[in-house]
Symmetry: C2
Subunit: 435 residues, 2 copies
């Protein structure tokens, strides 16, 4: 399919900063990739002429046209667990509420929970998610069925290594040729993995030629226990174990020394920053500004919906910026354009797809949003970058294209029956909680 | 006009905590007040019989019915300045960007800016705002024209006392009989008011029989300067000056000692907490939990849209809860129901209208929201209080009733032409910035 987007305000995310970051123009899409991005209507005319009778036209008047958002850390199927337990201490949350329900979740629950989370994400302009959970095969199947791009990370944990081995084999077998699904290894965390099982994950990363996605330094407890057990920080420990020899995306990185940050920078480890989850679980504030200043690539994630409680990248961008201004006591920290970069280009870099995702450029994959600016909370228009980060809501996303396919149009999801997806999720959780 | 709301999930905000906070039921409205709130359909039948032929029916199936949100600190006309300056140091923000534009704003600009902000607020479920700005007469007129409830606070500041004197006289004259507009004095802050002018405000408060709304302890600079100038904290200084002999609502209260908090508690001063503005301007975290534990009534405000950058009480509730969990490193701090109380009953108390606003009860004023739960980001339904605070968006507000009048219906504002309000604001800011 070919698509021509006309008269939009194009925000390609290739400018170095927020000055001159957008212009009025056109984008042509041929099948799954962007053919051209231009301010010149002649290019649009030529594109139309080339694809006469086989080109969908989208009028983007009054709309921002920008790359899709990349959610670099989530457990999408946890949308099923939204709200089942809030405002309780972390261990009570896990042991008495989350884990007992998760223990009852199988392939079908993960699949349907993932579809609910993906519906929410797509409606809010997330076009790629990086997921870590049991039954990543189900998450991959859900991604294919909904049309969202997913990096699925089968997740080694000591107490379910057998499940993990089956899961990664199944993903590899079924989704090797997928246009939407790619894979990373998901070694869960230092506190759930023995040295042996961590090494198994590292060796599989090498064998499969994929990177690793890990929870790292989320809490002071993790740091303290690691010091007792290994006499070093979680980051130092993972360096020693060799994880960072694989291309690594580390989620959270809240409790970080200068040495830890230096290690991440040296090994080109990317960070998935999850500000709302870190606040809700009272984990702390990740030193995002400090990490970025040290040259670390920092992207954004929502974490799962049970510790957030939504999968909304707009809120996460806004919170990332506001929280860092607070942490550094500097209102200039993480300006709006930097937050947008974190959610787009930095996300692409974090999953090894720089230049191909998170950007509007010829040859890049066509993961594109249209954001409707005709909303009272976005008026008056003075600085559109600032509007997107400090004022825009998920509901302002009007149209979403993923891999060249229109998946949301005028705020209607074309790939799912929203009501059915919601009701199916409700039935699952009602059953799981009544058992 | 009489209204019957049927089959809703009623959240009256009179429960002590989130357990058993809601039930399925009916609400009857006679003119501007609530006639009954009940789970019993017989009462609904009786109400219908009593008002045959003169009763609007609203089917609230699948919707939360709750009190309207009370925004206890804003400068609503600053919606006009949204986005004109972000990510810059505070004094540069004020001196180079905000003040030069504000200096050019007159009655008409404040009126139209206020209408834009009120449109955004009403669409997001805010039914009452407490406003402080020059030309509160224009804000009062805008409130009457849009149908929102407003507490307008004419604002003494040393450099424009003459303007202030005219403003409060005009408000008093024009809006004394208003059903929507009430008045408080708005002594701006200790750093913009001489002792004399502060005393003038205090004496007018007494004369008019109204309370005071003041900026207090927003930044460390304010605290430091006050120590140098007066040898005491801003809170101690205002106590000494006698401001707290008037019923006081203090906005921000970020830099607070235990003694300051004790003073607020002793004088029953209410606090308007503005978490997103305090983050964006890098002011700090108000000790909300500590103040509440000391018995201080803490409500929520958005501040102006140029330091936020929206007027969204849902985000503000969520941020208030998450930020306090972080500040106290306790995930149990400010649970969801407490955040809802802050935005409703505590707000009513802060403006001296406890029992009349912020609550659904017979005799209370009919300021009521219907929140649509049929959204992917609100599924599955497990704990509706948690959903409202941690997952709901402004856009989930479906219908808004203020003072017994339906002002928003199915997400359409009935009292304003939204497009015209937005375009008018755009014209103003384009002109103000081009001068």
């Amino acid at each position: 399919m070919n698509i021509l987007i006309s008269n939009g305000i194009i925000l390609p995310m290739n400018a170095p900063d927020g000055d001159n970051a957008y212009f009025n123009g056109y984008i042509g899409i041929e099948n799954e990739r962007i053919a051209f991005v231009s301010a010149d209507s002649l290019q649009a005319d030529e594109f139309m002429a080339k694809h006469t009778g086989d080109c969908t036209q989208i009028d983007a008047t009054g709309k921002i046209v920008m790359p899709g958002l990349i959610n670099t850390h989530t457990h999408v199927a946890m949308a099923l667990l939204r709200g089942i337990s809030d405002d309780v201490p972390l261990m009570e949350w896990l042991e008495q509420h989350i884990w007992p329900i998760e223990g009852k979740m199988g392939y079908k629950e993960v699949y349907d929970g993932a579809r609910l989370g993906m519906l929410e994400m797509m409606m809010g302009g997330t076009t790629t998610l990086v997921d870590m959970y049991p039954y990543e095969e189900a998450v991959a199947e859900a991604a294919e069925s909904t049309g969202i791009r997913a990096v699925v990370c089968p997740c080694p944990m000591d107490f379910r290594m057998e499940h993990f081995e089956n899961d990664w084999r199944a993903v590899k077998k079924r989704f090797s040729d997928s246009r939407l699904v790619t894979m990373m290894m998901g070694p869960h965390a230092i506190y759930t993995l023995s040295d042996n099982n961590l090494q198994r994950s590292i060796s599989l990363s090498g064998e499969l030629g994929v990177g690793s996605h890990v929870h790292l330094a989320e809490t002071k407890t993790e740091q303290d226990n690691c010091m007792v057990q290994h006499g070093m920080s979680p980051t130092e420990y993972l360096e020693k174990e060799g994880l960072f020899s694989t291309k690594t995306l580390a989620a959270h990185c809240v409790v970080m020394s200068d040495h830890d940050i230096e290690i991440l920078a040296r090994h080109k480890v990317s960070v998935a920053h999850n500000p709302q989850s870190n606040m809700k679980l009272a984990s702390g504030i990740a030193p995002v500004k400090k990490m970025m200043d040290a040259g670390v690539n920092v992207a954004i994630g929502t974490d799962g919906a049970s510790s957030n409680n939504d999968l909304d990248m707009w809120e996460e961008m806004r919170t990332a910026s506001l929280l860092q201004k607070l942490a550094t006591m500097d209102p200039c920290s993480i300006p709006a354009y930097t937050a947008l970069q974190m959610a787009t280009v930095n996300g692409a870099k974090a999953i090894g797809r720089e230049g191909e995702l998170g950007i509007l450029a010829p040859g890049a994959l066509a993961d594109i949003l249209l954001v409707n600016l005709e909303k009272p909370h976005l008026y008056p228009h003075t600085n559109l970058v600032s509007e997107l980060v400090y004022s825009a809501h998920s509901e302002d996303v009007d149209t979403v294209i993923i891999n060249g396919r229109i998946v949301v149009e005028n705020r209607r999801c074309l790939t799912m029956n929203a009501q059915e997806v919601c009701q199916t999720a409700q039935k699952h959780i009602d059953r799981l909680m009544s058992k």
